[in-house]
Structure formats: structure tokens, C-alpha cells
Amino acid sequence: MDLRNITLISFGFFEKDLLTRVADSVKQEYPFDIIIKEGYLDLSEYFDPVRRQYNGNSLLKVIDTSYAVDDDKTMGLFSVDLFIPILTFIFGQAFLRGRCGIASIYRLSNERYGIKNDDDLLLDRFKKEVNHELGHTFGLIHCHNPVCVMRSSTYVEDIDQKSWTLCPKCREELNLIPGAR
């Protein structure tokens, strides 16, 4: 199977410039055509009133069944707070070696932590999160290299420590994946 495109589908409001710059960073790490689309979902169906968050598992599932296609990698981009039943929150998640993933910008903003807003930092974090989840769809697991984008991050501060690119080892692994060259 030869991969054709990486499709970024935004749900909710995103600045056009932010999506273009995220797409540029994806293009640099994963050499495929990048398509940016807008998606429409009734997010209230995925809202958990007890937790006041959106169910990441259900959203990932709907991206897989309604938007993803076999020859593409599809990323659903959200601006709402995501959770999975076992964890208090997630930045994003993906099917390992699957065809899609999701990422949310919600918890990446400084404002959520009572700090002054920083648009550049927000963009930087979102680029890392999208590239990280895409890495999983290509079969990459968490990396121990502290600056690799595939390093696991459980806080925004962790995200700030790494770069938005793959380390040489992960890039080499990516090159070995059929269809990913």
C-alpha cells in the first residue's frame, strides 16, 4: 500500500494561519501531500456531563469510521478538553499503526494554567502534538530521546522540552515502514 495523503480535519474554530503552519511542520516530518479540511460533528454527543469533558475514545472511533480512508493518515483536530475513562485528560491519541488519530489544542494554551497567553508557544505545542500522534499512526512508539517528538509527554512542560521533529532513530524506523518512505 502506498500512502497518498495526510489529511488534517479541524472541528471547531481554528485560525487558518495556525492550521497552515501545523501542516508545514507535518510536511517536513512526513513527506506526503497534506490536505487541510473542515469537519462537522455534533460534539454534544461526545460530551460527558459528569466529567465536563469530551470522550476521546468515541471521537477517535468516529474519525476512523466516518473520515479516515485506507490509503491516507487522518488527524482530527479539536479545541475541546478530551478525556479517556481511565485518565483525567489527554492531549491526543491515535491507533498505533492505524489510519487515524486525534489531537486537541485545549490544554496546550498558557491561559489554562493561569499564565499569559503566548500564540507562538501554543502553535509550537500543537505542532508537536499533531506530529506525535501521527508518528503513532505510522507505528512509532514512545522514544526515550529527550528531544524527540515521540517522547511521551504528560504535561505541557514536557511538551516544551522536546522538539517538533523526529530523532534520527525514529526517522530511520519510519523509513523502514512500507508506504512511509
Binding site: 478525556f83 481511565i86 485518565l87 512508539i141
Partner: protein
């Protein structure tokens, strides 16, 4: 991470299992899931996991009961319990029952990462500890092999030359000569030294017990087999298995053993799953295996499979020049272990030891020295501290022929079976010595 950590997730909620599975797989762990305690216990009977992450509140058997059963089945398992209904009582109970930690659902992603990282660290430390212990034990046991006689030099050379290979070795020698020490020395100088040396005393077990001991058994294989058990071959994976008193095993076991040695795979008693293990075999016996083969008591094919290299340990009476060294070594060893000042042995006592026949070989000498240090005055070992008189009286030598045979053998060993030098020392001609060797059926260790 040196090895891939494995995790078993036990939770009745699909979404929890899926989420955790996905999370851990992305972290590079080997993960399996079970939807209830019963299924988890079933999985644990045939597979091993480093970490078990279990929900407390589940239909049927709850997580606390499952934790107790896991701790009986595999006491070293790391079990982390989780629940959405946290109370101090259940947390305390879980920890009392041996849980590694306790978490409340939903948890922070960072808490989960920390928890698994801490558990992994504990597993790595436990493994390193075990490896170091094996290493220390092995090195200690190499030190117990003492001697500068030609016969012992030959043994050391043999150990050195076989250690690096994975060939089977048969160690022969009388009881008490140190066959197990030689096996340990081979193992601890081999590339397998950081893996276990597993010893089996074949003579001490009945045929059915030996079978279960060597190959392991499945739960229910026989009355009383309540849980699955790993066999010694499985435990010796990457290491060495030492089969002591190999000549005592039955002909049926010999067939089974031959098959295992040829295929390096076996099936547990009562099981049907083929298990493979990469082990090296070292056997020991005080019998002449070749003559047992001739009598039909030991399979010839097994003999050749085992006897790739033969190391023969001389009896202590054949290397009396090593006695002072051994005495000195055992004095230091026991004075240190008993927290006593080093004692010395008076020349008359040492001379008596050198004259003694030692039917129990080095083990007998070691016991004598240990006893002398315990009962002696704490300054020196005298003849009175040594239980020699009684032993001399009960020596097996009664006839002059036995005495002559024994003396000729000692001289032959002393001169490395050089007939001319031995004949000169005995003040007989070479033909006479050849006749005596033939009459008494004496054989050099290399023959």
C-alpha cells in the same frame, strides 16, 4: 529498558481496558487484557507478567481476592490495584495483601507513567540483585577449588578450556572430591555466568518426582499439583543445569533426557505445550559410566551425548601435596566465618593429616578442620583435635594387597603416570610395575 516489560490489565469495563492497552502499547510494553479475575488467573497459569494492573470492583471475584490468589501463585508479582470507589480501608487492605500500589480512577497521565516507571525500576533492581547474587556465589565456589598438584592443574586446565563452549561435560570422581565445585567453576567462567546454575540431585528423587522436577508440571497433572510449576530445564534457560549422580536415573528417564538434549525442548508433565530452553548440561557421577554402558545399565547414545568432555577429579589420597594448602584454606575460611582469630596447625597434626587416607576426600578434610576449630583451644590445632585415630582404624584397607595397590596408585598419580619415574620411586623395574598395574586394574584418569 533492557527487557520489554509485560503488563496484564484486568478490568470489566471495555473502555478502560482499551484505553490502558492503547496507552501502554504506545509506551512499548507487552500488554494483555482480561475482563474478569477468573480469566486473569487462567492467563497467569500459562504466562508470566511483570506488572498486573487490576480493578478492585469487578463482578464475580473482586480485585482484592484476585490479588490474594496471585500472591499465592506468584509471590513476586507486582500488582497495582485501581478503583473508582476509593476508601482508605480498601487501600490499606490492598497494601496489606501485597499490592505494590493503589490508584483511584481516573488518574492523571503523569501518575500512571510514574507508577509504571517505579514498578519497572523495582523489577530491574530485583533482576540485577539476583544476577549479582549468582555472580558472588559462583566466584566463592571457584575459590573452594584448591590445589597445585599436577592432577589438579590438569583439572583447572580442563575447566578453562571447556568453560567458553556450550558442550556437555561429565565430571567423574569419588564422593567428596568436589564435582559440584568443578561444575560451578565451569559455569561461573562461562558466558552463561549471569544466568542460573540449576542443580538437580538425581539420586535423591524417585522417577516420577525427577520427571516433574526436570520438566515441570501443569496444574492437575497429578494429585497435589495445584499450580503450574516450572521445571529445572526451564529454570536453566540461558544458564547451566547440573545433574548430579546421573548414573542413578532409570532407563525411561534416560530416554526422556536424551530427547531433551537433542531437541532442547520438552513438555511439562500433564501439559501439551512444547517449551524450549537454551541450557548447558554438566553431569557428575562417582560411577564408571562406560562400564555401566557395557552392562546395559546406561544407554550408549546418552553416554556419548553427555560425555563430550570428561573431567576426572583425583581422590585426595592421590594428591597429598595439596593437603597443606587445603588445610590452610579451610582454617582461614572457618576462622573468618566464626569470627575467630586465625589459628595455626602444629606440624605433627599436619603430618598425620598427610598420612591419612581420606576415604571421604576433601569434604572429610574440610569437616575435620571445621570441627577442630570448633572444639580446639582457639590458638592451634593439635593431633588431639583431629578425629584421625578412629578413622584410621576403620579404613577400608585390610589386606597387604589393598595396601600395595593404594601405594602404587598414589605414586603413579604423584609422577603423573610416568612409568619410569614411578618405578624408580617404588624401587621396582618397569615390567614389574606394568604387571602390578594390570593385576590391580589401575587406570590413569586420561585412559
Amino acid at each position: 529498558m533492557t527487557k520489554k516489560i509485560s503488563i496484564l490489565i484486568v478490568d470489566d469495563e471495555d473502555s478502560v481496558r482499551d484505553s490502558l492497552l492503547n496507552w501502554f502499547i504506545e509506551d512499548g510494553y507487552r500488554v494483555e487484557c482480561a475482563e474478569n479475575a477468573k480469566k486473569a488467573l487462567l492467563i497467569l497459569e500459562s504466562d508470566t507478567f511483570d506488572i498486573i494492573l487490576a480493578d478492585i470492583k469487578m463482578p464475580g471475584m473482586d480485585g482484592l481476592e484476585m490479588l490474594r490468589r496471585i500472591k499465592v501463585l506468584k509471590p513476586d508479582s507486582i500488582v497495582i490495584v485501581m478503583t473508582a470507589f476509593a476508601t482508605v480501608d480498601t487501600a490499606v487492605q490492598a497494601l496489606k495483601d501485597g499490592a505494590f500500589d493503589y490508584v483511584t480512577k481516573p488518574f492523571d497521565p503523569d501518575d500512571l507513567s510514574h507508577l509504571i516507571r517505579n514498578a519497572s525500576k523495582q523489577i530491574t533492581l530485583a533482576e540485577e540483585n539476583e544476577n549479582l547474587r549468582n555472580k558472588v556465589v559462583s566466584l566463592e565456589n571457584v575459590e573452594d577449588l584448591i590445589g597445585t598438584s599436577d592432577a589438579m592443574k590438569k583439572v583447572f586446565q580442563d575447566i578453562e578450556s571447556v568453560a567458553q563452549s556450550s558442550s556437555s561435560v561429565v565430571i567423574t570422581g569419588e564422593s567428596g572430591t568436589g564435582k559440584e565445585l568443578v561444575a560451578r567453576a565451569i559455569h561461573s567462567n562461562s558466558p552463561r555466568k549471569f544466568f542460573p546454575l540449576v542443580s538437580v540431585h538425581c539420586g535423591a528423587l524417585t522417577e516420577s518426582l525427577l520427571e516433574s522436577e526436570l520438566f515441570g508440571h501443569e496444574k492437575g497433572a497429578f494429585t497435589g499439583a495445584m499450580y503450574n510449576r516450572k521445571g529445572r530445564f526451564e529454570m536453566a534457560d540461558n544458564g547451566t543445569i547440573f545433574l548430579d549422580e546421573i548414573a542413578t536415573i532409570s532407563l525411561k528417564m534416560q530416554i526422556d533426557l536424551l530427547r531433551v538434549l537433542e531437541t532442547k525442548s520438552f513438555v511439562r508433565v500433564g501439559g501439551n505445550k512444547e517449551i524450549t530452553s537454551d541450557f548447558r548440561v554438566i553431569c557428575a557421577t562417582n560411577k564408571d559410566l562406560k562400564s555401566l554402558v557395557e552392562k546395559g545399565e546406561f544407554r550408549e547414545d546418552l553416554y556419548y551425548r553427555l560425555n563430550v568432555v570428561n573431567i576426572s577429579i583425583p581422590p585426595l589420597r592421590g594428591r597429598k601435596e595439596d593437603i597443606p594448602l587445603l588445610v590452610d584454606y579451610f582454617i582461614r575460611k572457618y576462622c573468618t566465618s566464626m569470627n575467630k582469630q586465625p589459628v595455626f596447625i602444629e606440624p605433627a597434626a599436619l603430618k598425620r593429616l598427610e598420612e591419612f587416607n581420606f576415604p571421604g576426600n576433601v569434604r572429610e578434610l574440610e569437616n575435620m578442620i571445621e570441627r577442630a576449630i570448633v572444639v580446639g583451644n582457639g590458638k592451634k590445632i593439635t593431633v588431639r583435635d583431629l578425629p584421625l585415630e578412629k578413622s584410621v582404624m576403620t579404613t577400608s584397607i585390610e589386606s597387604l594387597d589393598d595396601l600395595e595397590k593404594n601405594h602404587i596408585y598414589q605414586i603413579l598419580v604423584k609422577y603423573g603416570w610416568n612409568i619410569s619415574r614411578a618405578a624408580k620411586a617404588l624401587k621396582v623395574d618397569r615390567v614389574t610395575l606394568y604387571n602390578k598395574i594390570s593385576k590391580y586394574g589401575l587406570k590413569s584418569p586420561e585412559s
